[in-house]
Amino acid sequence: MTAPRFGIAAMAAVPAERAADRGRIARRLVGELRPYKRDLLAALGFVTLGALAQATAPWIVGRAIDQAIEHRDPAQLARYMMVLLVIYVCGTTAQRGTIRTIGVAGQRVLADLRERLFARLERLPLLFFAKHAVGDLMSRVVNDVDTLNQLLSGGLTQVVGALVSLCGVLVAMLLLNVRLALVSFIIIPVMLLTTRQFARRARKAFRQTRETVGDVTAGLEQEISGIREAQAFGRTQANVEKFKAQNLANRNANVQAVGITAAFAPAIDVLSTLAIAIVIGYGSWLALHGQMTVGIVAAFLIYVQQFFRPIQLASTVYTQAQAALAGGERIYSIIDAAPEPADAPNAVSLGQGRGEIEFDHVSFAYDEGRPVLHDVSFVARAGQTVALVGETGAGKTTIASLIPRFYDATSGVVKIDGRDICQVTRASLREQMAIVLQDPFLFAGTVSENIAFGREGITQEDIERASRAVSADTFIRELPKGYDTVLGEGGGALSRGQQQLIAAARAVLSRRPILILDEATSSIDSRTERLLQDGLQRLMADRTSIVIAHRLSTIRDADLILVLAGGRIVERGTHEELVAHAGVYADLYRRQFGT
């Protein structure tokens, strides 16, 4: 909820966050600009030229008044005017050059940062994503890069130019008339102090508005995404009352803040006019006593108007820089996060194998000291189907995640075709397996694109054959544009079951020797699942499959069933063996099917 704010409001609206190690971050951010050194040098040249132009123009005006107009010399006036024209054109060229060089270089730096962030996110270990919320990561790439954008595109260009020209103006004034210059300078510290005082108060007021805006947005977000619950439980009116209170608090905070910010511009305005009054008063007195010319008074009048802009800009940029440093710190914390450990130095390609999976005394902990898998050992022979059964939290998904090395075992070894998976390259390892997860991942694109998932050399026929194999063909053909129907982000109008069918078709199409199904069929009704299973079964005849499911009908055909509890394998065997054993599995089975 940020409308463009100007001046004091812009300063105060940026939270004054302080980065932990500002010096280091600032040096790194400056380092990002290094590839554009030549652009920046050019920019510096443009800035200096622009400042010179800005400082000399009023001086020429003053000279024209004194030496040409007062002396009634039109030819001299024409000469001065030509000089003035050249200065103006130079100033314009310089300004255009500054905007282009700094602006373009800044945008390139930002694009580069975004791309590096994204590339790093594609390389980070999955443990990282288990510990960071999607919203938080999004905000780093979106909002934190934006704080840098504001600094680079807006503030920095202007403030450098403005500060250089302020110096030029000050020097020119001193050269023209030391006494009048010094008297006019009195206003500068007053302006600085006023600005600082206002910024401090405004920041306090705006903190309040930021917090209340947060409440308003959160209230809205909850209402919209929870609308079905709100209506089902008859809470809409209560929510309206709550929202009105939050909304009112936000309005009041804003009106209060405006009491401060609305006073700022007038205050500075009064100070500017005071500066004019000083120049007129003291200047005229000097002129009356013959110690100064009218032209110089005129030049001074133009100069004092140029005081405030640089001061205001400098304080805006100071605040922006604070936010940018804090943003930079968060950005670098991702860029610096350790990626998935590199493949072992002597890692080889796994190569197309038979697909035998072996867990050899494997333990795993997300956090040190809190293991979620204890000493798990089993073998899935090539072509076999192994089913994992157990309550929520028993460790089924964790086992499935260790096979593609989403996580690495804390102790023990996972082997494929007899090779420790830590000794082969990750890419070759993952090429051996197709995975269908609980939450199917569909991206914005056509159904065909989602099934092909970027693989090259896939024909439409391949895609349709894979869809038929998992019984997805029928519903896809009924979609408005069949296989060319564009799915929204997250699957759009498809039911969860339909999304799972598409993900299954994708897995079938990939023709890999190992198949991992993590509750991939939980939302498909049992008949469709039966059809899907028939298709999968045909295709899995020569594949090794790891299947996680709650429905026993899904797993009773498995070659090996592992029953997990608290991260340990408590029972193992075939369906018949386990039913006969009369243990945990037999109990589960009875409860689901018997009475």
Partner: protein
């Protein structure tokens, strides 16, 4: 605009103050002129001091009035935004499910936050500034012509290109900003997708192609950003150049007039100061022009939302619904989603007697969820009627209808907050005992007690993450706490293991069936539905069969097929279970 009317006094006050400020601003150069011409040139120290005093007085007046203006304008605009957000919030709460099926959360949120903010920015400060800028422009022009006609004409001619350039810039920049926003939206969408789908991407080794996809979107964004910078650099420096050329023309032409004796030196200086007052309003109008078009687009989006029809609302004369006595009846119900031409339900008739448990069974997409969503009127039937105790549910008050119904939706949504708050969502005043009783019935009490802070454990964005089965159980507890006469479970136990599922069913029997409360359940598992008093099987939006487990087992090949797909072979499993 109607929203501004109720804050009329603030707006008018702001406008009057701004006109005073403009007048004061225009007076300043006159005082400078007097100081130079009659003071310095005329050699009168008294006049110099008087005009300096005048300057200070004018500055003070300008300060006070511009404060009043800023404050009043902001207060008016904040109040407009406040009213607008309240109206929007109240409206969206009443929109039916079919509206939300077609909307994305992010889009709606944008309308109520940033679109309202755009309008606010324009309504409050924009309109006032626009009027003031126009007044300033006209005032300055008039003054310039009075001061020196010829000089005024020259100046206007020199400055005219500023108007042209500004117009060009505004036209060029508006679509560019839009393109930047679109490109940014595209990069962010890819990022969001990849963050949520990180496992699948890794599993299929798609990192490189995803990076390429993002790279392309990012390059597009860079391209649009650079285009924007070029548009700025091709216009703004020249706008400033032409306004500087104004000074150039004034000094040259005016200087020659001074030499010729038709203009005083002070007059020249004053004239030069007025130039700034000519350029400043032009810039203001230029900047406002782009915000006007943005505000117009925003208000279109806001009013579109405010005007979205309430598809489900109370009929005039609707009366409250009494507690359900006899039951729910579907009478030849048809339904299609708005915009779709195909019915998803055809001619569905069945009854749910009070106290019974009715199970709905059918393939994915057969219309089970649609059937249950019609009972609390999340959607309204398109043909036929649903009656509770003989009354068409469209004739009763919506609030009272929903009061009697507890719903657990297929996609469980919990709110950021403690578990207790989540369970007590429908009855915020429920006691701890009531909350834990509902949780116990939903088989959630045990695992909640095992959490670090029990019922006070915070879930959501920054809190503990729960498994699918745990979330489902909390949602069931939430529905049970309101003690509904009719409970709807839409595939609400899919993530529960069989043991928990069995315990839950036993608890529901105790809570619902024994007290003659009604349950409608959608489930995939035969074990869940076989004990139901009646089973309704849907196929392609029609009722294919209905009856008890035993009747269907005997008569319905479809039921046997469904059963068979779960217990293979069916007869085998049944005998096994019976043995």
């Amino acid at each position: 605009m109607g929203y501004l009317r109720s804050h009329w006094w603030d707006a008018a006050g702001a406008l009057v103050s701004l006109l005073v400020v403009s007048a004061a601003t225009l007076a300043t150069p006159q005082l400078v002129r007097i100081a130079v011409d009659r003071g310095i040139t005329g050699g009168s120290e008294r006049i110099v001091w008087l005009s300096v005093l005048g300057l200070v007085a004018v500055a003070a007046a300008r300060g006070v009035f511009s404060f009043v203006q800023g404050y009043l304008a902001e207060r008016a605009s904040q109040s407009v935004a406040y009213d607008m957000r309240n109206a929007l919030f109240e409206h969206i709460g009443k929109l039916s499910f079919s509206f939300y099926d077609r909307q994305q959360t992010g889009q709606l949120l944008t309308r109520i936050t940033s679109d309202v903010e755009q309008i606010r920015g324009f309504v409050g400060t924009g309109i006032v500034q626009l009027i003031a800028a126009a007044a300033m422009l006209v005032g300055t022009l008039v003054l310039l012509i009075i001061l020196n006609g010829r000089l005024a004409v020259v100046t206007v001619v020199v400055i005219l290109p500023v108007v042209v350039l500004l117009g060009r810039f505004v036209r060029a920049i508006a679509p560019l900003f839009k393109q930047v926003q679109q490109a940014l939206g595209k990069t962010n969408a890819i990022l969001q997708q990849d963050l949520t789908g990180v496992r699948t991407i890794r599993a299929f080794g798609r990192e490189e192609s995803e990076l390429a996809r993002y790279g392309a979107a990012n390059a597009e964004l860079l391209d649009r950003n650079i285009a924007t910078i070029h548009a700025i650099s091709n216009n703004f420096p020249f706008i400033f150049l032409f306004s500087n050329l104004g000074t150039f023309a004034v000094i040259w032409v005016g200087g020659r007039q001074v030499i010729g004796g038709t203009l005083t030196l002070g007059g020249l200086l004053a004239f030069n100061s007025y130039l700034a007052f000519l350029v400043q309003p032009l810039l203001t109008i230029g900047i406002l022009a782009s915000s006007i078009s943005r505000a117009a687009a925003s208000s279109e989006r806001v009013f579109e939302l405010l005007d979205a029809p309430l598809e489900v609302a109370n009929r005039p004369g609707a009366t409250p619904l009494a507690p359900i006595e006899r039951g729910v009846e579907f009478d030849r119900v048809c339904f299609h989603y708005p915009g779709a031409d195909q019915d998803v339900l055809h001619d569905v008739s069945f009854s749910i007697p009070a106290g019974h448990t009715v199970a709905l069974l059918g393939a994915t997409g057969s219309g089970k969820s649609t059937v249950v969503n019609l009972i609390p009127r999340f959607y309204d039937v398109t043909d036929g009627a649903i009656r509770i105790d003989g009354r068409d549910i469209r004739d009763v008050q919506l609030e009272s209808l929903r009061q009697h119904i507890g719903v657990v939706l297929q996609e469980v949504r919990l709110f950021a907050g403690s578990i207790r708050e989540n369970i007590a969502y429908g009855r915020p005043d429920a006691s701890h005992a009531e909350v834990s009783r509902a949780a116990a019935a939903a088989q959630a009490d045990d695992f909640i007690r095992d959490l670090p802070e029990g019922y006070d454990t915070v879930i959501g964005e920054r809190g503990v993450t729960l498994s699918g089965g745990q979330r489902q159980r909390i949602a069931i507890a939430r529905a049970l706490l309101v003690d509904p006469r009719l409970l709807i479970l839409d595939d609400s136990t899919s993530a529960l293991d069989a043991a928990t599922d069995a315990a839950l069913r036993a608890a529901l029997d105790r809570l619902m069936r024994d007290r003659r409360h009604t349950v409608v359940v959608i489930a995939q598992r035969v074990s869940t539905v076989r004990d139901a008093d009646s089973i309704v099987i849907l196929e392609n939006g029609r009722i294919a069969a209905q009856g008890t487990h035993e009747v269907l087992l005997k008569d319905s090949p479809l039921y046997n097929a469904i059963l068979g797909s779960q217990l293979e072979p069916a007869s085998d499993a049944v005998t096994e279970g019976a043995a």
